[in-house]
Symmetry: C2
Subunit: 243 residues, 2 copies
C-alpha cells in the first residue's frame, strides 16, 4: 500500500514537473516574442542578435519535455485525464517551439530591415499593436493552460480573428508603400513576413487553446476556427491577403 | 493464453490500421500539393477551387488518427517501439495536416494571381521545379515511413537545403519583377507567399523525416538541420530571404 502511494504521488509529481516546464517554456516564448517586436520597433540590432541566439534554449526545452513525457507514458501508462495531460504537453511544447522559431525569424529580419529602410512611424505603430495583441493571446492561453480553464481557452480561440484583421490592414499598407516607392520593396517584403509571422504566432496560440480545451474537456474542437478573411476564393483585389 | 494472443494480435492490427491511414493521408497530401502547383503553373481556377474544398478531408483524417491513437495508448498502454509508433502517428499526421493547409493556401493565392497578373514563364518554371522538389521530398519521406527506414529519412532531412536555395533564388527574382514594374507588386507578393509555402512544405517533410528517424532508432535528431541560408545576422542586401 505504501509502495502504491509512493508511485502514485511520484507520477503526479512527474506530471507536475512537466507542466511547470511548459509554463517556463511559455514564459520564454513570451519573452522572445516581446523581444522580437522590440527589435523591429526600436531598431535594436544588439537585442535582435541576442534574441536569435536565445532561441536555442526553447528548442532544447521542447526536446526535454517531449523526451520526459514519452518516458512518463511508457513507464507509468497513464489513462484518461493523465494521458491527455501527457499528450497535451507534447503538443503545447511543439507550438511554443514554433512560436520561438517565428520570434527568431522576426529578429533576423529586423536586422535586415534596420540596415535598409527608414520605416514609417505609422507602420511601426501597427506592427507594435499587432505584436501586443499576439503577446496578449499567448499570455491568455498560457494562463488558461495553468488554470486548466477551457472557458478561457475558448475565449483565446475566438479572438484570433482580431490579429488576422490587423494583419490584413498592415498587408495593404505595406503594398501601398512598395508601390509608392519601389526602392522600399526589399525591406517591405521582410516587414510583410514579420507581420505574417506575428499572425502565425497568433495561430499557434489558437492551437494551444484547442489543446487546452481538449485537455480539460476530453473533446477536440472540430469547427473551423473563426477567420477574418473576406477574400478566399473570390478575390476582387490582390491588395488583401488570404489565409 | 488464447485471450492474450488475441489481444496482442488485435493491438498490432490497430497499429497497422493507423499506419495505413497515415499512408493514405500522405497520399492525399501529395495529391493536394501536386494539384496546388498545377493551379499556379497551369492557371486553372476550377482546379484551385476543388483543391481548397478538398483540404477538409485531410483535416478530418488528422482528427481521426489522433483520436484513434490516443485511445490506443489509453487502452493498450504500449511500450518502447509500439509507443514510439503511436507518438509518431500523432506527430506525422500533424505535419501532413499542415502540408495540406499550405497546399490549400497556395491554391487560394493562385486564384488571386491568375486574375491579376500575366506571370512570366521563367518564374512559373522556377515555381514548378521547386514544387517538384517538395513533392519528391514528401514522397521520399512517406516511403521512408512506410519502410521504417531511418537511412532514407536522414537523406530527406539532409536534402532540404536544396529547396531553400531554390526559394532564395525565386525570392530574388520576384523582388526584381516588383521593382521593374510596381503594378505587379500585389500579384508578386502572393507568388512570394506561394514560394514560401512550398519551402515550408519542405520543412514539414523534414519534420516527418526527424520523426521517422526517432521512430526507428529511438533517438531524436538534435542537430540544427542544414540550412542553405547565408544571410542570417549579417545581411548585406535585403534582396535575399532569411529562414
Amino acid at each position: 500500500m505504501r509502495e502504491q502511494e509512493h508511485i502514485v504521488k511520484s507520477f503526479e509529481e512527474e506530471l507536475e514537473a512537466i507542466s511547470t516546464q511548459i509554463a517556463q517554456m511559455g514564459g520564454m516564448a513570451e519573452a522572445q516574442l516581446a523581444a522580437a517586436i522590440d527589435c523591429v520597433t526600436r531598431r535594436d540590432i544588439a537585442l535582435a542578435e541576442r534574441t536569435v541566439l536565445e532561441d536555442r534554449r526553447i528548442d532544447e526545452m521542447e526536446h526535454d519535455i517531449e523526451e520526459q513525457t514519452v518516458r512518463l507514458i511508457a513507464l507509468r501508462q497513464p489513462m484518461a485525464l493523465d494521458l491527455r495531460e501527457a499528450i497535451s504537453a507534447i503538443k503545447i511544447s511543439a507550438d511554443l517551439e514554433r512560436i520561438g522559431d517565428l520570434a527568431k525569424n522576426i529578429a533576423k529580419r529586423s536586422i535586415i530591415v534596420i540596415g535598409d529602410y527608414e520605416t514609417p512611424a505609422r507602420l511601426m505603430q501597427g506592427l507594435a499593436r499587432m505584436g501586443k495583441l499576439a503577446q496578449g493571446q499567448l499570455k491568455a492561453v498560457l494562463d488558461a493552460y495553468a488554470g486548466r480553464n477551457a472557458e478561457e481557452a475558448l475565449h483565446v480561440w475566438r479572438s484570433d480573428a482580431e490579429i488576422d484583421e490587423m494583419y490584413n490592414s498592415i498587408f495593404r499598407e505595406l503594398l501601398t508603400y512598395m508601390m509608392e516607392d519601389p526602392r522600399t520593396i526589399g525591406a517591405c517584403t521582410h516587414l510583410l513576413f514579420i507581420a505574417k509571422n506575428i499572425e502565425r504566432i497568433g495561430d499557434h496560440a489558437t492551437n494551444v487553446a484547442e489543446t487546452v480545451s481538449y485537455l480539460v474537456t476530453g473533446e477536440m474542437l472540430v469547427d473551423e476556427r473563426p477567420k477574418s478573411d473576406q477574400t478566399t476564393t473570390t478575390a476582387i483585389s490582390a491588395l488583401r491577403d488570404t489565409q
